[in-house]
Symmetry: C2
Subunit: 326 residues, 2 copies
Amino acid sequence: MKIGILGATGAVGRQMIECLEEQNIEVDELRLFASERSVGRTFRFKKQAIPVQLVSAEHLAGLDVVLGAVSESLSKEYAPLIKAAGAIYIDNSKAFRLDPEVPLVIPEINGEDARHHHGIIANPNCSTIITLMAAAPIAKISPITRLIASTYQAVSGAGIKGLSELTEETKAVMAGEEIKPEVFPHQIAFNCIPWIGNADCNGYTSEEYKMQNEGRKIMHLPELKVTCTCVRVPVYRSHSISFSLQCERPVSVAEAEEAIRQFPGDKLIEKGYPMPIDTSNQDIVYVGRVRPDLVFDGGLAMFCCGDQIRKGAAANAVQIIRCLKL
Amino acid sequence: MKIGILGATGAVGRQMIECLEEQNIEVDELRLFASERSVGRTFRFKKQAIPVQLVSAEHLAGLDVVLGAVSESLSKEYAPLIKAAGAIYIDNSKAFRLDPEVPLVIPEINGEDARHHHGIIANPNCSTIITLMAAAPIAKISPITRLIASTYQAVSGAGIKGLSELTEETKAVMAGEEIKPEVFPHQIAFNCIPWIGNADCNGYTSEEYKMQNEGRKIMHLPELKVTCTCVRVPVYRSHSISFSLQCERPVSVAEAEEAIRQFPGDKLIEKGYPMPIDTSNQDIVYVGRVRPDLVFDGGLAMFCCGDQIRKGAAANAVQIIRCLKL
């Protein structure tokens, strides 16, 4: 298989290179694409040094799959070029996620949806992937009707610059120096910022609506109602989510725990609890603190953590390749 | 008025000294109590250096009010001594909070309850105070029936040692050194720990049940249902809470915002959002992100922040003095 990566020099793009190798995808050729200032750099894949090139019809020719780790606007710009080159585009941006022609896929949940593509498959939002990896086993027992979630999102969601801003600000606070945020709207070191994305409607942010809109599509639950509050916390690369859910029928803790235990990609934490430092730099979503919800009759309260760059982005996108019949 | 402070050398005790001065409580005499190893230290109050002494019937004699910032077990041990000395005991521990004979008071919400004491008044849990300061204005419009909350709790909840553990661990992480947690069960620097307090029933922690049990008593809403998830985050001294609530009748965002605007002790954040760094070292609770809840019909989703050592503990306890008819 011939694979290309758009935005190969970013946090997600670099992780895609690693995930292709780790997941043993049969790659006959790998091409890396990024902006002009990265052209000439090389990245290692299976002992080969792969050079970074610019995207062009010529450089895309012959590819089977292109993984995208670029912005919404760049994704929209390149999608027609990729389609024209005859490759399938697996896009990590939000550009096509809610397009009815585009499957939105978490392989463990709705991998079969990937087969009904028209050239583009969308990779869901990072918090949505991690939350649904924890919630989907319950939805298999009984359809989820309501979900209230609060996130604890890592700085890696803002890419490599987000990671270094946390380090630089932390050093500045320790040294008593002035903080000058560039990536985040305010100081993130030793702080929480309850605003991620842009203003959407009703006082919610774009990031907060994703869990409802993408959750409905991925779990095939068009009536699902979700209230989400997205909060950035001073953690490097794993997102955590605290949530309460209610299903059509009551679900017991024992049933839920057994479903999570059996669900590929999840690890049920029975002694202790999931924490972002334990889930960083691996693909498994940790799910724990499963307990009867005290507000939703027959519902459950839970806590989950997963690596934002891996299962929340790169690893999920690479897994989608295996869902395709090529 | 003659006032004593138990546990005067801890984070909350020291803050009580400052709050007595800031709130202009008429203090004729201040006595500071702590454990043996602090005896001999002095703390400044209104330009006087006050020595730390051991608690004894003799040292308590003549006091009108004793503020307690000690553990549950010490509180239970000293309460009879304080009562015997004829002083009113305002206790920050959980020892007496749910005792039907003991008022549990947030002055802005149920200050009048303080008058029906039998010698002891309890100061509520820190997260509960900060959440209820945001929720109580809504409860005045229509009684709250259901509340789902996730907390982002500062390390100051574990006292001075919690504060220094965050600093030491942060330095160690930056230097690539090994982390040896002592105060918290795991590394808190660059991490979130979804477990505060002890195991209670149904998989909840003692800290998580406080919001329901104390909320019912403070707001006089015995039927209130609360699901709470308490999470420690690497923030120094302000707690944040993300929550959804539903009242007996639908409440609009405009009604809720007006009620918060009018509520003493609250600041409605209309441009931007509340953040822990903005609320540290002051007594006001910031409330924002007020929006229609997407799960609870006619309900609201909100976010609030407040200083854990001040309004979450010391400032509230000192305010209670003014609710007493002495």
